[in-house]
């Protein structure tokens, strides 16, 4: 134990015994073998990234626990639990406000439009240039998120490691970055060979382990203190309140965290976290995705809040009852490890630490997998198509194999970039503040663009691009001069080292939203100006000049050149230039490019998904045996009577699944009803169905009409 005078925090090293390390190594080997086993279910990039849209809601709901708990980690919530008490839970219990729009807006849209990434939605809804800008912003968001994950992992293991060690007679210091690099290598190996199915199943196992380990620690901590009543009475009243003080202190206040986490964070997590979205897309249907999301938010998140924060609460009680054992000055980011080591015996401590680090790895794995999906879909394929001069390559096994290899290499590159991004967050006093600042700064432009894109038919390509460029410029202006945020601060005091880490989100959302709305409502003015430009003989040169002007003005803002007033006027001119250039350049059909792509035309989205009129009649779910047929067409043949029971017609979509519920849809396939036969209780399937569904000879299937 040492006390660093610079920040008056007590830090720990070499916590734990050799038994704990053995338990941790064994745990990691088991998890990696478990994940690798499910890697064999990847037959294509679709399986690698999306798990083949086949799983039951409960499997996805539990697999999300590890992702949610990992990302909102043990380390950061225990830290805030130690500093401020039960209000550390508030970010887990503020996600319901946007659920109606997610369950009945975004989720059906992403499933029915068959988009494989968020930027792809921007191309369909707006333009390729909107897709490009969305890709840039989303990659920054995802890589930053991976960096936060690595930083947390590093901070979790550092207290367990010695300050230095000797190898081959040489002396090595153990640094935070060194630990992170080693962790990144282990994480990269696992994700590179696993894929989404592996991540889902590993997370499923870890979801259970995490809940168990978290509650075990709480139980052990309460017992160590002498019972719940002692624990309760040791805590001051303010520590027991479920929400933080409205506007103080600057490093943990309710209103800032509401806008940063409850608004920007919730929308960001539900609508633009590709890792989470890919989980919902892996469910067998939209309704199953809704069940998974609802169960997770109503029940799993409140439980997770206790799981991740309780070490901090126990730590606080220990610091009151025995300040020599847990000094009140203990580094908040180390409190989880310190408390776990005190209350758990050797071996159990190793198990808890293994659960913690494995959970964090799950989060990072999910994010790496999702970022690789964005790379393949939004960079690799468009670039490849460009070099083929727009000609689509036929979908072959060879092409898919090449893309799968590219996805694996992308996972390695993204892991490295994630490690590098840790450098941007290292200076924050706690992981919590680093994450809050990150969310406040990177999510607002995408949050506004996705939100208005889905729910506002009038939202135009010029408005979305102006939001990405002009909104970001106004956000950068807020970074240069934090006084701009003061009117939005709700009385929060400015911390000059990290000004307005949380409430910055409110300002950023406001400026992005304002740009989006003003540019949308000025569409007719833009068209008038563009008509005038087009009537000139040098209209192309005028367009290039406007692009150059926008680039120069954006550069001035990025490098803080000129006074605040000049920069502000420059941004307004830049937004106008961007809007006019986009209106001039982009061919936008307001009817075709909103059909099926906004919440106002979901029925049309379903029709596009199916390829014909939707059959919404509710039929029976039936049990059925399969027989093999020749051919490779994607059609399954049922008997006439079975089709009547399912209220299905030829051409409708059907979901076939191994009837054993324990598999949660792992052995299943989506296909189309073909012409019926006369043998009741039998479905005719071809070899491709059997390979994709991994069906076992003699085992009964369930069949369910989708639409």
């Amino acid at each position: 134990m040492e006390t660093t005078s610079s920040n008056i925090q007590t830090t720990f090293h070499s916590i734990g015994s050799s038994t704990d390390w053995i338990v941790m190594v064994v745990y990691f080997i088991v998890i990696m073998l478990f994940g690798s086993y499910f890697g064999r279910y990847n037959r294509s990039t679709k399986d690698f990234f999306f798990g083949g849209r086949r799983f039951a809601w409960w499997l996805i709901a539990f697999s999300i626990v590890a992702t949610g708990v990992g990302s909102h980690s043990f380390v950061k919530y225990s830290a805030k639990g130690f500093e401020y008490g039960f209000s550390s839970t508030m970010t887990y219990i503020n996600d319901w406000f946007f659920i109606p729009l997610f369950l009945f807006g975004w989720l059906p849209i992403i499933v029915y439009t068959k988009i494989r990434s968020i930027p792809e939605y921007f191309e369909k809804r707006f333009s390729p240039s909107a897709r490009f800008l969305a890709t840039v912003l989303l990659l920054l968001y995802m890589i930053g998120y991976i960096g936060i994950g690595f930083l947390t992992l590093g901070k979790a293991v550092i207290p367990m490691l010695p300050e230095n060690f000797m190898l081959l007679g040489m002396h090595f210091d153990i640094t935070l970055m060194g630990a992170i690099i080693v962790i990144a290598i282990i994480t990269g190996i696992y994700i590179t060979f696993g894929g989404q199915t592996a991540v889902i199943f590993t997370d499923l196992l870890q979801g259970f382990v995490l809940l168990f380990a978290g509650f075990l620690l709480f139980f052990l901590g309460i017992s160590y203190l002498g019972g719940f009543e002692t624990f309760w009475n040791l805590l001051p009243t303010t520590w027991k309140l479920p929400l933080a003080d409205f506007s103080k202190p600057p490093d943990f206040n309710f209103v800032g965290i509401f806008w940063q986490d409850g608004v920007a964070g919730s929308v960001g997590f539900l609508f633009m976290n590709m890792g989470l979205i890919m989980r919902f897309m892996a469910t067998k249907s939209v309704d199953e995705g809704r069940k998974a999301a609802t169960f997770n938010i109503l029940f799993m998140l409140p439980l997770s809040a206790v799981v991740v924060g309780n070490a901090g609460w126990i730590g606080k009680a220990l610091s009151v009852s025995n300040p020599e054992l847990v000094p009140p000055t203990t580094s908040p980011d180390q409190i989880f490890v310190v408390v776990a080591n005190i209350v758990a015996i050797p071996g159990v401590f190793g198990f808890i630490m293994a659960a913690l680090t494995a959970a964090l790895m799950s989060t990072v794995d999910t994010l790496i997998n999702a970022t690789a999906a964005i790379y393949i879909n939004d960079i690799y394929r468009p670039v490849e198509k460009y070099f083929r001069k727009g000609k689509e390559e036929k979908k072959t096994r060879k092409k898919d194999k090449r893309e799968l290899a590219a996805a694996r290499w992308a996972s390695v590159a993204i892991t490295i970039l994630g490690v590098v991004s840790v450098l941007a967050f290292k200076s924050f006093p706690t992981v919590y503040e680093a994450h809050g600042y990150f969310h406040s700064t990177l999510t607002p432009p995408l949050v506004i663009a996705i939100f208005l894109g889905i729910f506002w038919k009038k939202f135009t390509p010029s408005a979305v691009i102006a939001t990405f460029v002009g909104g970001v410029a106004l956000m950068i202006l807020g970074l240069h001069d934090a006084n701009l945020i003061t009117p939005f601060a709700h009385g929060i005091e400015m911390n000059h080292d990290h000004p307005y880490s949380y409430i910055r989100a409110f300002y950023n959302l406001f400026v992005c939203g304002a740009v989006a709305v003003i540019v949308t409502y000025s569409t007719s003015i833009q068209h008038t100006i563009v008509s005038k430009i087009r009537s000139k003989s040098n209209h192309k040169q005028i367009n290039y000049a406007l692009i150059a002007l926008a680039v120069v003005l954006f550069t001035f803002v990025v490098f803080n050149i000129g006074t605040f007033g000049l920069q502000f006027i420059g941004i307004l001119i830049m937004i106008s230039a961007v809007a006019i250039v986009t209106t001039y350049t982009v061919k936008y059909d307001a009817v075709a490019q909103t059909e099926g792509l906004t919440v106002w035309s979901l029925d049309r989205a379903k029709e596009i998904f199916k390829g014909s009129k939707v059959n919404d009649e509710e039929g029976e779910l039936i049990k059925i045996k399969w027989k093999m047929k020749e051919g490779d067409d994607d059609i399954a043949n049922f008997s006439k009577n079975d089709m009547v029971r399912m209220k299905a017609n030829v051409g409708d979509l059907v979901y076939l699944c191994d009837a054993r519920k324990i598999f949660g849809g792992l052995k299943s396939v989506h296909t189309v009803y073909g012409e019926p036969h006369d043998e009741d209780g039998i479905v005719m399937l071809n070899n491709e169905h059997l390979l994709n569904g991994v069906f076992v000879d003699g085992k009964v299937l369930t069949a369910e009409k989708e639409m």
Binding site: P100, F104, P108, T237, T238, L241, P242, V255, V599, D603
Partner: protein, 70 residues
């Protein structure tokens, strides 16, 4: 007794401002017919959505009272 800025004000703000977002969401999905109350399944989901809002309101009220008076 802690100040109101630490007890009821955050709760009112959370479910007031958050409630506005929630209400806007409910209005949009109903007006757009994304949720169609003629369908039995959608009626079920509509009830779940409303239940969820009050479930969390109740959650925070109960825990605030427990912290203050237990």
């Amino acid at each position: 007794m802690p100040e109101i800025s630490h007890t009821w004000l955050p709760l009112l703000y959370l479910y007031g401002v958050g409630g506005i977002f929630f209400l806007i969401g409910m209005i949009i999905i109903r007006k757009s017919k994304a949720i169609d109350l003629k369908k039995k399944r959608h009626r079920y989901w509509y009830r779940v959505l409303i239940f969820g809002y009050f479930y969390f309101v109740a959650f925070h009220i109960i825990f605030t009272l427990v912290a203050l008076y237990w």
